[in-house]
Symmetry: C2
Subunit: 248 residues, 2 copies
């Protein structure tokens, strides 16, 4: 994979259908990129990948560092990912800016990278954030439990207060026509600077300006699950409304 | 690209929206595969790629061989493709079978390659066909004319009679959840053995058994148009009904 190409394993529709018993080895994922997000087997927690390091953000608030060597036991849910997106991130625009909302970030990135309305974009923010709301799914109660169902008993954390929390936001913008394959719009995960908390970013503001790094993506490598009965049997209908609700 | 990986340039939704003024150089397409299908700039005719050779099947019934060197003039519509799918085809199942319809072929391929319900498949048939119905689009009357509109004045040819016509069918099955990106289901093009006629396959039967070659695909490389204003401005909404009608 060259820089700023996207590698994606499986599709979001498969998570919606609860396909999460098997997956790609974390070591293979890291061979394809050093920046990204995803989840772990049985959707236990949220995955964020910063500078080649993989973190698992659990619903009890704990964060584990996942090294490929520590997760080789086939019984370890962290050994494989049923869905992830990674890139070798090489920002083409680096700047500083303040954001009042996810929508504000969306509009700002669009103006930083004109001509990318129908493309993927890699995004990274570093700085201090306030009113961060992040959710973390706790894992499937049973095989094939879908992401929408998991969402009903997810944990949502809020980091409020004007002093804010230092941390990093990483993620991808996916074009509208890829809804179901990826998550249309901005799909972002947050992790605190001390790597002690974080999750799937629902809403946020910044405290003053943060560092903003973005790059457009024109090539996507999509790897589909192989020898995976759950994936083969899933209906995988594009549930646009469900995805918006689960990943919004 | 390794064998049995799919390389696709642009998305079917873009053709539906009439995005066809620019495209990928044919030489770049051939660097990514030797078996496939697509169209040419301004959607002039149907493209079929057999054993690394590119043919343009026009609506007047003529077939042109397109070599990368013969199509380097920027004014030549055959210089670039606004949409194509190619692979380095290495069949994993080779057999002989008779087919009564496209649906019969679909069901047969499913049983030849179990476990591929949600995957792409490469398909090639060689033999004698009867009641072949193939359509060929004649090209855009104006920029941004969409594929559904072009379909209204496409040419449909029928090769009837029991003696049939010898030729080759090449194409891909795409999973249902990729509708709009690719064409869900079997998307096949036909060319006669004498390379004098052919088009987008609408319906067919075989005369006795034909040679059948298939392979499953688990990795897809999707390259999106870059610096292409038409693509950037297109809405690219998944028009499922329109695609089924235009590509059925």
């Amino acid at each position: 994979m060259s820089v700023n190409e996207l590698f994606q394993y499986s599709v979001v529709s498969a998570l919606m259908d609860g396909v999460a018993s098997k997956g790609l080895p974390i070591s293979t994922l890291l061979a394809n990129g050093n920046h990204g997000l995803g989840t772990f087997r049985h959707m236990v927690g949220e995955m964020i990948i910063l500078d080649g390091k993989v973190y698992q953000m659990n619903s009890d608030g704990s964060v584990a560092t996942v090294s490929p060597s520590s997760s080789t036991s086939p019984d370890d849910d962290r050994a494989v990912t049923p869905f992830a997106m990674v890139t070798r991130f090489s920002p083409t625009v680096t700047t500083r800016a303040a954001f009042q909302s996810k929508q504000h970030l969306f509009d700002s990135v669009s103006s930083l990278l004109p001509g990318t309305r129908n493309n993927y974009i890699s995004i990274r923010l570093d700085g201090t954030f306030k009113n961060v709301k992040a959710r973390t799914v706790g894992g499937q109660a049973h095989p094939r439990e879908g992401l929408a169902e998991l969402g009903k008993h997810q944990t949502t954390r809020e980091f409020a207060g004007d002093e804010g929390i230092r941390g990093t936001v990483i993620g991808f913008r996916s074009p509208a026509f890829m809804q179901g394959i990826s998550v249309a719009g901005d799909h972002l995960h947050f992790i605190s600077e001390d790597r002690k908390t974080g999750g799937h970013l629902l809403s946020f503001e910044t405290v003053g300006e943060v560092e903003v790094k973005v790059a457009g993506i024109w090539k996507v490598v999509l790897e589909l699950p192989r020898d995976d009965e759950e994936f083969d049997q899933a209906k995988l209908e594009a549930d646009r409304e469900g995805i918006e609700k689960a990943e919004g």
